[in-house]
Symmetry: C2
Subunit: 163 residues, 2 copies
């Protein structure tokens, strides 16, 4: 049976988190809105990830939806581990201060969400973190990066407006 | 503040469900993998949707990831309600039988998942349904439809392989 999860066109987003003593960034593809009012989104993170316990400790996280020219950041944040490397100290990650949370956000992205941890739940081999969105920022000049079938894509031809 | 949810590049998928007495189909954009082993995905559905209680009654559902030439099906399944119209009786919806579940699947899609209901949870104004994936089918000749910022897109230029 083919890997089911590769069949979803996914956003590529960077989760940022900061406790009083540590910051980290990791790449997620399993992220989605789940509620309109109040605005709540979800990200699914494996417990072995360094970021996992940092989110629990901080009680909040940032999410930066990467633009289609930021593949390099997805690779860096997805293949290094915060247990060995201070990824956000690398020059490739340019950040700016969030307004409502301690974690920084990633410059050059398409959109940014500042979230407080609403709740979390173990589902299979991952933890689903629900984040209540405290603030949204958008750069309308950027277009998002999409992951599908283990390859990165830009958005292509527009096929019309959602009714 | 801009609508946060429109900033995610979303898949466009059709949820199909069948109880002993009714079948229905609805469009979802808020769908994502959440667990690898076992394979579990999530779809977020508003309680006012006709499909919502059908999923609870059936205890299972199908998910068809639409191909980039199936925008019309997304519109039909997303704007009509099963409480007034038997959408799957419309000629536009061509279906085939699933193997593990009662609900039919939608012909011409990119991928199909047959799910048994793992659990569900109210999150804000939606219900998150977790589906344990019993069977995955893929049509590698199709490319998925993506929704972003309230517009439909095909995938565009490939930007490399995920590491």
């Amino acid at each position: 049976m083919p890997t089911y999860s590769s069949q979803f066109p996914d956003p590529i987003a960077l989760v940022t988190v900061a406790t009083k003593t540590r910051t980290n960034v990791m790449t997620v593809g399993w992220a989605s809105p789940v509620s309109s009012k109040p605005p709540i989104l979800m990200v699914s993170v494996a417990p072995r990830r360094f970021t996992h316990d940092l989110i629990l400790e901080a009680g909040e996280f940032g999410l930066s939806i990467l633009a289609n020219d930021q593949k390099k950041l997805s690779e860096l944040a997805g293949t290094l581990t915060g247990s060995k490397v201070d990824k956000l100290a690398k020059p490739e990650f340019e950040t700016f201060d969030a307004e409502k949370i301690r974690a920084p956000l990633i410059k050059g992205a398409r959109a940014w969400f500042e979230c407080t941890l609403h709740s979390h739940q173990t589902v299979g081999d991952h933890t689903v973190f629900y984040g209540a969105v405290l603030k949204t920022r958008v750069d309308e000049t950027k277009s998002p990066l999409v992951l599908f079938h283990r390859r990165y894509y830009a958005l292509g031809e527009e096929r019309g407006v959602y009714p």
